[in-house]
Each structure stands twice: as structure tokens, then as C-alpha cells.
């Protein structure tokens, strides 16, 4: 299974017949296509969350193209690695990734947010092939991911579980309940990634509710912490590889990102957290992402 427009790298051999692997150079091209999908489908829907979708693209592209063991033709394959989107408002990003991986046709992406579409406004596990968890109410994904990871351990399966959180989402108390529990249960087949874009709806996170120092918080909760540039594919891949070697505790990758990444007038602009581009803005955005 190879996503459209990408090619399997001969240097990559998978432990199983699953997974999609492309070369490092191609990742940037894939990510750009995903960003184009995101702005296009949010623009067409007339509502949605471009900022936090764009900030997470490179993280999730790295996961689906370089890290995850998965079979798009068999979304319920019991041995698949799991990706859980806790920040459910980034659903347009996840849908674009899944479509590029052939979980469903790319042509379906433009049904985003329409009545009866499989692509609901926020991620819905009952609707979309490849979506592991329903999200949208923040703070719940890490707990869910612990359950998935514990089930893997109970079943002696070697799949790994990845969960993406927002930095603003780390305001939620449940995140820290879960952080405590993951370390307590030594869930080392679990990796959390914080999309640390520094903004939330009401403004910069440092002004609204300061989450700093995130690294020290996670460390104090018993996690192995890796900090990385969330737009550097090489560093991201290295971080995910390093996480596989950490035993006895969970790993968190704190990825520094830019909200709205890739579209100049959306970058670091709070207003584009939950606002669709208008027609003119969409044209400009697509030119920039050409």
C-alpha cells in the first residue's frame, strides 16, 4: 500500500508486510499535499480549525510514512500500531493523512463537515476508517491511549500506541491524571507527542494558562522527555526511533511547532485557530503551498 504520489523506498524494509515508507525527501512533498488538502477542505466547508491542523502535519506525516506499522486496507488489523488524535479539532489533518494513505478516497475529503459525511467536524471513530478514537472534547486521548497500550500488553502484542496532544490541551486536569497513571503502570509501549505551537483560542498559552515548563512537568510525572523541532522530519524520525528504546516508562516528544505552519498569514495568528480561509485567502494559501 503506497500513498498516491509517493514511492516505496528500497532502503526501508518492514518487519511485516504492512506500513508505507517513503524517502526523507518525499516526506516534505507529502506534507505539502496534506497542507493543501487541509486549507482546501476547511475553506470549502466554511468552518474548521486550520491553525492546529497545519502545526501537526509534519509530526503525523512522519508517523504514518516512517513509523507506524499499519494496513490502510485493513484498519482493524489487530497488530497495527495505533495513532490517537486527542486534539480532535485537528481532524482535517488526520483525514488528509488517512486519505493520502488510501484509508478512503482523497475525493471524499471535500465532504468534510457535511451532513452524513464520514468526515465529521471532529474525529469520530464510528464514522471514519482509520480513526481510532472519537475526540473533540479535549484532554481525553491520553487516558484512552493508556487503555489501548495496556490491552496490547495484556495480549502480549508488540504494537505501539501514539497519541497527539495540544499544548493548550495540557491545561486539562485529565491529561495529568493520565500522565501520572502511564508512568505508574510503566506503559513503555506508549508515546505521547505534544504539538507545542504556543497558542490557544484566547491567545498565547503563556498568557492564557501557562503550561511551561512542559518538559519539567512531564519529567516530574515520570516520563522520558524528548524535545524536538516539530517540523524537522529527520529529528522527528530520530525521536520516534529513540522512544522505541526507552523501557520501563512512557516517552513524551515535545515538538516545537508553528501554529498555521506553511501558510504565511496563518502562521502564529491566534485568529486562525478556528476560522476558515475565505476564497481569496484560500487562493493565496494554495499558491504558497504550490
Amino acid at each position: 500500500m503506497t500513498p498516491s504520489g509517493s514511492k516505496k523506498s528500497p532502503s526501508q524494509t518492514s518487519a511485516s508486510d504492512a506500513g508505507v515508507f517513503v524517502s526523507q525527501e518525499d516526506l516534505a512533498g507529502v506534507a505539502k499535499r496534506i497542507r493543501r488538502h487541509i486549507v482546501t477542505i476547511i475553506g470549502k466547508a466554511g468552518s474548521g480549525h486550520p491553525g492546529g491542523s497545519l502545526s501537526a502535519v509534519d509530526i503525523v506525516t512522519t508517523l504514518y510514512w516512517k513509523v507506524l506499522r499499519h494496513k490502510p486496507a485493513d484498519p482493524h488489523w489487530p497488530d497495527r500500531d495505533r495513532f490517537i488524535l486527542s486534539k480532535g479539532h485537528a481532524a482535517p489533518m488526520l483525514y488528509s493523512v488517512l486519505a493520502e494513505c488510501d484509508y478512503f478516497p482523497v475525493s471524499e475529503l471535500t465532504t468534510l463537515r457535511q451532513m452524513d459525511s464520514r468526515l465529521q467536524g471532529h474525529a469520530d471513530r464510528t464514522a471514519t476508517p482509520g480513526v481510532e478514537m472519537s475526540s473533540g472534547s479535549l484532554g481525553q486521548g491520553l487516558s484512552f491511549a493508556i487503555g489501548v497500550a495496556l490491552a496490547g500488553r495484556l495480549d502480549s502484542k508488540d504494537y505501539r500506541t501514539y497519541v497527539l496532544l495540544g499544548d493548550g490541551e495540557c491545561n486539562e486536569g485529565q491529561v495529568w491524571e493520565a500522565a501520572m497513571a502511564a508512568a505508574h503502570f510503566s506503559v513503555d509501549n506508549l508515546v505521547a507527542v505534544v504539538d507545542n505551537n504556543g497558542l490557544q483560542i484566547d491567545g498565547p498559552t503563556c498568557d492564557v494558562m501557562n503550561t511551561d515548563p512542559l518538559d519539567k512537568k512531564w519529567e516530574a510525572f515520570g516520563w522520558h522527555v524528548i524535545e524536538v523541532d516539530g517540523h524537522d522530519f529527520t529529528r522527528l524520525s530520530e525521536a520516534f526511533e529513540k522512544a522505541k528504546t526507552i523501557k520501563g516508562k512512557p516517552t513524551v516528544i515535545i515538538a516545537r511547532t508553528t501554529k498555521g505552519k506553511g501558510v504565511s498569514f496563518m502562521e502564529n495568528v491566534v485568529g486562525f485557530h478556528g476560522k476558515a480561509p475565505d476564497k481569496e485567502q484560500l487562493e493565496t494559501a494554495l499558491k504558497e503551498l504550490a
Binding site: 478514537m133 481525553q140 491524571e177 497513571a181
Partner: protein, 311 residues
């Protein structure tokens, strides 16, 4: 009637289920000695997760386990689930259509001395509002064991509400619980009392008292509150007068459910034995049930009243 603990019945049934079904896992939030999941935790430590005082996290972990093929039983007090973690139950379990079993204890006023913070009198309203949930309120220890077994076999989210005190045993060991089916406890043609949970035994007592006055009262145990046995409710209404009895606020529980159905399909006078729009107090369970109108005498008075309203 001899009395037995529903919580003990739950704990022991879980162990029984755990022996035959390796997919059953148990979660608790620092209350395993009260909810009685402790028996399972002792027997199957590797399949047990005490998450500490963190109910929201417990719900999420349970959902993740269920999404991966496990059958999680998650337990705490009824005030904490659904109260403490309603949004987690809503999104991670109900909207996600996941096979999580919430078995909660210390439901209702009969918690007693711990007072209002610990008396769950809103939980049935909250949990019944969630599409897809099966909601069961057993009447005694025998029905508790049967309902827990049935819940394990049901595919979908399930809420079972248990009480704290020992309760009179109203069923014998041959009792077969069928989810979604009301149980006719006593026949009668003058009025019908539909009761759940700890109100079933007093409903039977009330029927006995009324029989001495020549009033023949049907008694139904509506242990599955959702999906409710509509046919049984309509049949009860053939008596021309209905009384509901629950250890819960009158809003959103059994009474509301029965009234909704009857108002549409068979309007008859209905009286509600339930807690009015108020919080209670610390006190002994029996004192509280008396103060807040949840005794056999209250049920009998409601039956006399509803019969007077028959056209």
C-alpha cells in the same frame, strides 16, 4: 426477608466471570474495598487497574481497553460516575459506542451519614440521557449477580447502579434476569406500582398493606430502566392508575420515563414516589428514606391517591 449485600454479590460475580472470560478487566478509583472489586483485584492482579482518585482517567482507560477488545468493568461511587466524569462517559464511551461496563455503588439516599456530597440522586437522569446506554438498577443481591453476568454478555455500554446497605432478598436463586424485561412481582387490578432498586421491597410491602384494605395492587420491578420495557408499562396502565417508586430525584429517572411513555400511548393518572427537587442530609438510611418520602407507607399513600384520580 433475609438481607444481603449487592456489592458483595457484584464482587463475587466478577471473580466468577473472570475465571471463564480472560477478556474481562477491572478498573477502580481507590474504592475497591467499597465497590468490592477487591475480590477480582486479588484474584487477577494483572487484569486489574486501580487508577487512584482519578475517575475521568479511569473512564478513558476503560474506553481504550474496550476499543482493543477487552470487557472493562469500571467501578466507583454513583456520585463520581457519571457525576465526576460525565463528559468522558459521553464522548469516550457513549458516542464512541464502546463496550464499557460501569458498575457503580452507593447510589441514592441510602448512603446515609456521608451526606449530600455522597448521595447520588441525579445519576440515573444523567446516564439515561446518553444514547446507547443500557441502564440497570437491580433490586437485590440475586438480581445484581444476574445483571452483572448479563452485562458481560451485552455488547455495548452498560450502567449498573447498586446501593450501599444490605437489602432484603426478593428473588430466589432460580431467578433469570433478562435485560430490557420488567419482572411482574405481584398481580393486581386496581393500580400498578412500578419500582426500581431498593424501592422494590417496600413496593411489595405496600401492596401487602393495601391488600388488607381490599386494594389489589400490581407490582412491577423495572430493573432495566433503559431500554425500558414499554409493553410492561402499557400493561401496567391497564389497571388505570400507576405509581412509580425510585430512590432518585423525580426529574429524569423512572417516573419521567414512565410518564413520557404513558402520556403518549396510554394516558392514565400517575403518582411519583421520588425525591422532590432538593438535596437531603446526613442521617441513617432508614431516617432519610422516611424523611424524603421513600417508604412502603409513602408508596401506599401514593396508590390511594392515584386510585382516587381514576376516571
Amino acid at each position: 426477608m433475609p438481607e444481603e449485600s449487592m456489592r458483595e454479590a457484584y464482587g463475587k460475580t466478577l471473580v466468577e466471570l473472570g475465571k471463564t472470560n480472560p477478556d474481562i478487566v477491572v478498573l477502580d478509583a481507590d474504592l475497591c474495598a467499597s465497590t468490592m472489586t477487591k475480590y477480582f483485584i486479588q484474584e487477577f492482579p494483572e487484569r486489574s487497574f486501580d487508577v487512584g482518585i482519578a475517575e475521568q482517567n479511569m473512564i478513558g482507560i476503560a474506553a481504550g481497553l474496550a476499543a482493543s477488545g477487552k470487557i472493562p468493568f469500571a467501578s466507583t461511587f454513583a456520585v463520581f460516575a457519571p457525576g465526576r466524569c460525565f463528559d468522558q462517559i459521553r464522548m469516550s464511551i457513549a458516542q464512541s459506542e464502546l463496550n464499557v461496563k460501569l458498575v457503580v455503588t452507593h447510589g441514592g439516599l441510602s448512603v446515609g451519614e456521608d451526606g449530600t456530597s455522597h448521595q447520588a440522586i441525579e445519576d440515573l437522569s444523567l446516564i439515561c440521557s446518553l444514547p446507547g446506554f443500557t441502564v440497570i438498577v437491580p433490586a437485590d443481591a440475586v438480581e445484581t449477580a444476574a445483571a452483572v453476568k448479563a452485562a458481560a454478555d451485552l455488547d455495548g455500554p452498560c450502567y449498573i447502579r447498586l446501593g450501599r446497605p444490605k437489602l432484603p432478598v426478593v428473588f430466589d436463586d432460580n431467578y433469570r434476569f433478562v435485560p430490557g424485561k420488567a419482572v411482574a412481582m405481584r398481580d393486581g387490578s386496581d393500580a400498578a406500582v412500578i419500582a426500581i432498586g431498593i424501592m422494590v421491597a417496600p413496593a411489595l410491602d405496600a401492596a401487602e398493606m393495601l391488600a388488607a384494605e381490599g386494594i389489589k395492587c400490581r407490582v412491577l420491578n423495572m430493573s432495566t430502566l433503559k431500554p425500558v420495557d414499554e409493553a410492561a408499562i402499557l400493561k401496567a396502565a391497564e389497571t388505570g392508575a400507576v405509581v412509580t417508586a425510585e430512590e432518585h430525584l423525580e426529574h429524569g429517572g423512572l417516573g419521567s420515563t414512565v410518564a413520557r411513555i404513558l402520556s403518549q400511548k396510554k394516558p392514565v393518572p400517575v403518582e411519583f414516589v421520588a425525591i422532590r427537587d432538593t438535596y437531603a442530609s446526613s442521617g441513617k438510611p432508614a431516617e432519610l428514606l422516611e424523611r424524603f418520602g421513600l417508604t412502603a407507607q409513602d408508596i401506599a399513600a401514593a396508590v390511594r391517591k392515584v386510585i382516587k384520580r381514576k376516571s
